[in-house]
Symmetry: D2
Subunit: 338 residues, 4 copies
Amino acid sequence: MIKSFASDNWAGVCPEVMRALIDANQGHSPAYGADPHTSEAKQEFKKLFGQKAEVFFVYNGTAANIISLASNSRSFNSIICSAHAHINVDECGAGEKFAGTKLLDLPNTDGKLTTEMILPHVKADRYPHQSVPGIISITQATELGTLYTVSEIEAIADLAHKYNLILHVDGARIANAAVALNCSMKEMITDTGVDILSFGGTKNGMMFGESVVFLKPELAELFELFRKQGMQLASKMRFISAQFTALLKDNVWEKNAKHANEKAQYLGSKLAGIQEIKISQKIETNGIWAIIPKSLAEKMQNTQFFYPWDESKDEYRIMCSFDTTRDEIDQFIDTILS
Amino acid sequence: MIKSFASDNWAGVCPEVMRALIDANQGHSPAYGADPHTSEAKQEFKKLFGQKAEVFFVYNGTAANIISLASNSRSFNSIICSAHAHINVDECGAGEKFAGTKLLDLPNTDGKLTTEMILPHVKADRYPHQSVPGIISITQATELGTLYTVSEIEAIADLAHKYNLILHVDGARIANAAVALNCSMKEMITDTGVDILSFGGTKNGMMFGESVVFLKPELAELFELFRKQGMQLASKMRFISAQFTALLKDNVWEKNAKHANEKAQYLGSKLAGIQEIKISQKIETNGIWAIIPKSLAEKMQNTQFFYPWDESKDEYRIMCSFDTTRDEIDQFIDTILS
Amino acid sequence: MIKSFASDNWAGVCPEVMRALIDANQGHSPAYGADPHTSEAKQEFKKLFGQKAEVFFVYNGTAANIISLASNSRSFNSIICSAHAHINVDECGAGEKFAGTKLLDLPNTDGKLTTEMILPHVKADRYPHQSVPGIISITQATELGTLYTVSEIEAIADLAHKYNLILHVDGARIANAAVALNCSMKEMITDTGVDILSFGGTKNGMMFGESVVFLKPELAELFELFRKQGMQLASKMRFISAQFTALLKDNVWEKNAKHANEKAQYLGSKLAGIQEIKISQKIETNGIWAIIPKSLAEKMQNTQFFYPWDESKDEYRIMCSFDTTRDEIDQFIDTILS
Amino acid sequence: MIKSFASDNWAGVCPEVMRALIDANQGHSPAYGADPHTSEAKQEFKKLFGQKAEVFFVYNGTAANIISLASNSRSFNSIICSAHAHINVDECGAGEKFAGTKLLDLPNTDGKLTTEMILPHVKADRYPHQSVPGIISITQATELGTLYTVSEIEAIADLAHKYNLILHVDGARIANAAVALNCSMKEMITDTGVDILSFGGTKNGMMFGESVVFLKPELAELFELFRKQGMQLASKMRFISAQFTALLKDNVWEKNAKHANEKAQYLGSKLAGIQEIKISQKIETNGIWAIIPKSLAEKMQNTQFFYPWDESKDEYRIMCSFDTTRDEIDQFIDTILS
């Protein structure tokens, strides 16, 4: 299959990760994470987020989000999130089912929550009739490709903690965010006061596997039990761990994210120059949202497939990944212009 | 790390599977299973189980079991299983949590249920006070390494269907069972009337991934929704599918299982010859259960680690895998005798 | 305690119901609903809703709503409701916990959904990523005291059925609605195509107990099992049933509802004449929503307590019940004017 | 309907309770437990169990058990109980569904657990694979009418606390137990170290309503939220509370329980004298378990109905209640002998 702009999870595995998988396949290794590869990967995470960070691996992003939320809430809690949040619209109710909690989804236009939006919801009315807010979950980069600044994250963390709430970040594309903001993971996450981060691996070039980074170790206490009960304890875990080490060790995660972001900028600038196309969200990471007349969109999709986002507005999403090339973009643009 | 007799999931990935992973890493491929590798793997399963078989992939065995059970039961149901069943004692209550059902676990000495054991439990007393039996789940090979014969499976299937119950088989080591029984998957599973099979890949040489085989297509209708809600929909699914194709295409699954079973026979025969050691379960597949004096066991574990099974009886479990060698066994035995 | 305008559930039990409780307390009666009082009450419901109606009793309104919804949905479903719906904001996440479903709550200003609001949500996008709409739940009378007309209910039922959805009506105050619309239960519910009705008893003068009326008997099949598992099977059920018979037999439900509605009209007309007070919702049943300056409201609350509704707007809710008297209202108004 | 020996929940309401319901029906009272009747009832419980006891009311015994267990466990926990426990066999999986926990049910012949039975199960093997024991739940009087002595309860409490487990007592018939043991509630429950008690009201002469008594106040912290989410918050709660006050105030609970127990002794002694009948459990409270030839049993059931208990053994259960009379028993015996 030729490449596409459908999603960064249509891409395969980056070479460094594939190399690591081959190398990890030596002899026997204790199952369920009691192996040296897992210890090594955890150390790499500590280098990135600080020594207090506790890290666990799961198979995918849905699990990273839901199990970290479930292990830090009770069923009577609510979880405050964006109406666009992946946990709200793309996990088929996994949160409601596994955590038993209510998702309190707030409307917004760019995928971002502000402290003003959140404030009216931080306390439950009418105890014990209303679900009790327990966690704020934001996505960085958002489901609309936009970014929270470091100080915006800090402000939300402060609000959360003022009301004894936990701040969770869905970081399925956290690498793209860090590169775009030109800051370290520690500055963006640890130092702002984020409590729990779902750190994405798959969309950054891994075959499978995501991690949960607890910045406050006490929040990690029940995670292993919920991970097992949540069907997400990998027996041959070394093969997740080795991938993460490959991404983290020589900043491969940065290289991959930077590549994807730059290609989105390049493609975005080309698309912006086409009169019939209207860019509809700020291009801050590796995705482009654009209003495209249906007939033109179909022509483009026939060259390189991408998804409609909001059909009522003729809005589409075009994603770049770690392996998108400038040539593919040029060829794509040529099709449009031809 | 040197090899061990701890578990077949301490082993790595067999060469054919690793080759397939490398080969599958070409360009982009639709996510979530809409890719050619997944279609191909499903065809391989149909060859093995018959054209009616519907197959889905998940990350691990817990999920294969729990999601297939949950998507074919309601929370008021009970699931009849062996007290030794993995779903009963090794999944941290995943069934109770995700399906909401009661596990009706029946005591036994060899991991096997009989129709006599099951019969008193097939109907609920005192509607609506008691959970309503919905599914019988057996494990093949069992958690104690023993086997159901083809006709035993058939008898349980007949009983199940007589009372409108579904028969599920946890086949984490189904390959070892088929090889040991010297029958085809179709003879053991499809033709006996099994309704749903969790088909194990990881313990047979895969890196990750298990499949659920629905022999009655109508039982598969809700699986995809429960899989997604159960956090088990792999985005880069081609990398599970390609592994299964590698196992199934040239009967690699048979080769791997046969190897592990033979090594267990070889090791078992050696251990049986040692006076202080008493083999405690029939050696039918790739595991050996044995009563070993603690001091001897410790000496053995220092050579090649293996797990205690029931400490109250000094019973241990010793597992062979697709990569266990005759040399390793000889060396292990030498240690004991030295 | 003196009476109040706090809620119709601050009222006690109407005389006919208390009489029925005393009368039902004769000798022994089979438990769990297999008693003659329960049969009799079910017959009374059939007279009201038609012979096909299947009726079950539970303890309270939360259970009537949640158990009827749960027994007719799967966890991957979503339930479309008003953002103001009791199931959304006043049941502490009981729906999410017990049914495992997502509540898809739609914003509105008067407590009512329209077909236009519902239409964009009747089908799931991106199978299997998004929760699949299964049920539309509306409240009659709404949580803001407003009413759906008979033809509005019919339009929503038609829309529901066109998309294979079930229409549920939360009728905690269904009696007040029927009286206000001057139509029979059959015209409002059975003939419009409603599938399931939670029929309120407590707010209409009962001590405890609500019923679920299934207008399509096939939707009732699993209710008894879910009711038991949902902890809502009353052992001495005759004492719920006898209350319902008392309400239904001589149209006591109409008398009680009419009384409460009339008192709300009377009180509303008085309040509307006071310059500082602004009625904020149409007074259609037994509640009044009004904007009242805080100091005046406090003075009023000291006479007869009532609840703030939306403190950000100085909006209050004032409820009448089956036992509110004209004297109490006059006295309340005198306080305001004094 | 004439009376029966079917169950103490076929009986109606004792006069003191009915009187209290009538008396409580005066004017308005705050909903959801913020009323004076509820405060009064809670004080009565404190007199019985000590000032530290925190008490909450629910509708029925299933809820008293399940919500107290759920609010003091996490889904990865297991709850150790008797195989005969009501929570295990008579609540249609409510525990598994609402708490998400595994029930670890231990076989026994008389409904009672011993510390010897419990000890092997107090710790989880193989973290995080096995559910983690969190609570021990025993029933007093048991589902077979037998009793734990005060020192047996104390021994189980000590074991529980040694392993950081909570001891819950299902006291659906706790009144019958206290009377039979001739001890105070405080001696049997508070002083032995029980942590949580489900205190039964319905089988002791109430119309509906059970209570949960937390002997350690810190275990009560989340109960109100779980009760609301568990659909068990009564709006007109005064009508549960007033019943409990009626039972507790003048020791009506003792009178009712003593009456039922004495009648069981009387009936038991008569039955024991009939050659064809074999009493099969010790008669310690208000129930009799007996082996009766089927033809004789049918004749007896036609006079006064009672339930088969274990049809494989021709075992039946015959229950007395607070309103069983000596005349009814004599007449019943006459039938047998005629």
